[in-house]
Point group: C2
Chain length 315, copies 2
């Protein structure tokens, strides 16, 4: 895909809250969007998408919603937007493979690190873009999405640099009521977000503490800070020159928030598998492969892995 | 106190479930026991102690129970048994000081490390004995104690070695339906118990996981084992030559137990202050002072400290 146009066919793979929301916005704006669903397939086929959004509620009626529960029955796409939970990444080949034709671009909006690399390994690096979704969103029922706050997408080429292709996707999103920025360096953007995600998702899930309880005391703030420092050191070692003041910025920002449950803490409390490898494991491995010692990151990774497995095994 | 006899006056300081149970057993056996209480003072003054015990239920009627809410009103004791929560140790001087006369012995049955040292610093090392209580016991109402299982006390001289004094206390406890052993080395006994307590209390409280969920998976077992290894290394450095097979023994033992909540996890879930310093902080400091690196112990200590403070500050 050279450029995303009105004639392009867009496939959303893993249409939960995030995929449902952004896909429905694009469809609402007139794009040809095809949704691959699993658990909510029947509900969306019958009722379409119901979106309660801080940027305006809307419905996408069944007639205007193309939904599938089998990728083999879908037409080849110009752009595949991947919004699977990262724990399902071992199904990339099975779910995305059938949708590809020469030139199909793949944009992953998934959490954490390593998604683009894995897609590139399977389907070729030239196809791959990545994006960060800064959005507060929940699935509140089958096919019903509640978009509470924010919504910015920052996206970029896996290979780095700005491209007409990335700009055209951003333009389409902006035309669909979605704030969007194109990143000069996706690598930089990913690691910048990890500076917040690793300590708050990691410690939040390990200790089952909301963000406010983590940094309302010196001991917790010291831990969060130590982890942020390691993420920044790792980022620099892999080529993302993050500034030191990102630590204070993130702490200050987080203090303005209420008791916030990260996605991993929500998954923990709901008894669902957590995105341990994407959010914690992959950054630890990247850091260590670059020769950066990250003992606090590693410990948090191992703690969350233990919680995840312990709960999965023990119910 | 040379020897504990039938004429000796015993004071129980901090008579919660543990102090209430052992004190009531001694009183039931005919000893002269004086209880210092706080929250349950009125209930025990009015109704005495009510004990539901796997070794036989009994009541200690109000007339047979000497209770106080102020140490200044208590007679000097021959033996003071300390069963305060270790988080109250900064009240030692105020609560125990008024009970002492020349020769008064002090036996702490509190959790963790550092209690004997602090008592020795305040009142003289010669007075101090320590004991480990292996008992499943709960306060189920004001003045009502439920003794579910076990009950063994292992006690010894703070200064080390067996003494007629320690033997006489053990004999009195045995005469009161309490299993009791005298330790050759209290230091060895304390560290032996820490091999279990540091990982299971520490990780259990940090992660809010019962013992079974911690070791039903490889990641958790690896963490528990790494911590046990550090505790053993620290113990050896301070003079307690614990064997390596204590790790496998403790893992095997724990696997025979059901989902077990440690005292620290119970405190966490109840929103009460946890015994962080006695069970985690003091062992970490002792290890590091002896030149032993204990990164996993330190991390768990810091995590639990953060949870403790976070919850205290955040409610």
């Amino acid at each position: 895909m050279e450029l995303l146009t009105r004639n392009s066919l867009i496939a959303i793979v893993g249409a939960g809250a995030v995929g449902g929301y952004y896909g429905a916005r694009l469809a609402q704006a007139g794009h040809d969007v095809h949704f691959l669903l699993r658990s909510d397939y029947a509900a969306v086929a019958a009722n379409g998408w119901v979106v309660q959004s801080c940027d305006g509620d809307f419905r996408l009626p069944p007639g205007a919603t193309r939904v599938y529960d089998d990728p083999a029955s879908m037409p080849p796409a110009d752009l595949v937007i991947v919004t699977l939970k990262a724990t399902a990444n071992d199904r990339y080949a099975e779910l995305i493979g059938p949708l590809l034709k020469p030139g199909t671009a793949i944009l992953t909006l998934q959490n954490g690190l390593g998604n683009e690399e894995r897609l590139a390994g399977l389907f070729g690096a030239g196809r791959v873009l990545g994006g960060l979704a800064f959005v507060c969103i929940n699935r509140i029922g089958p096919g019903v999405v509640h978009h509470m706050d924010h919504g910015l997408i920052r996206l970029g080429e896996f290979g780095g640099g700005r491209s007409p292709r990335a700009e055209s996707i951003a333009a389409a999103l902006r035309g669909a009521k979605v704030r969007c920025e194109v990143l000069d360096s996706l690598l930089y953007g990913r690691w910048q977000k990890l500076v917040w995600n690793v300590p708050f998702n990691g410690l939040g899930a390990a200790l089952d503490l909301t963000t406010d309880l983590l940094i309302n005391n010196e001991a917790g703030t010291r831990l969060v800070t130590a982890i942020m420092r390691e993420v920044i050191a790792a980022a620099r070692a892999v080529g993302a020159a993050l500034p030191d003041d990102l630590i204070q910025f993130n702490l200050d920002q987080t203090r303005t928030m209420d008791a916030y449950l990260t996605s991993m803490q929500i998954d923990r409390q709901a008894g669902r598998e957590m995105e341990v490898e994407a959010i914690l494991g992959a950054p630890v491995r990247a850091a260590e492969a670059a020769g950066v010692a990250v003992p606090n990151m590693r410990m948090v990774y191992e703690l969350v892995a233990a919680v995840n497995l312990g709960k999965m095994n023990g119910g």
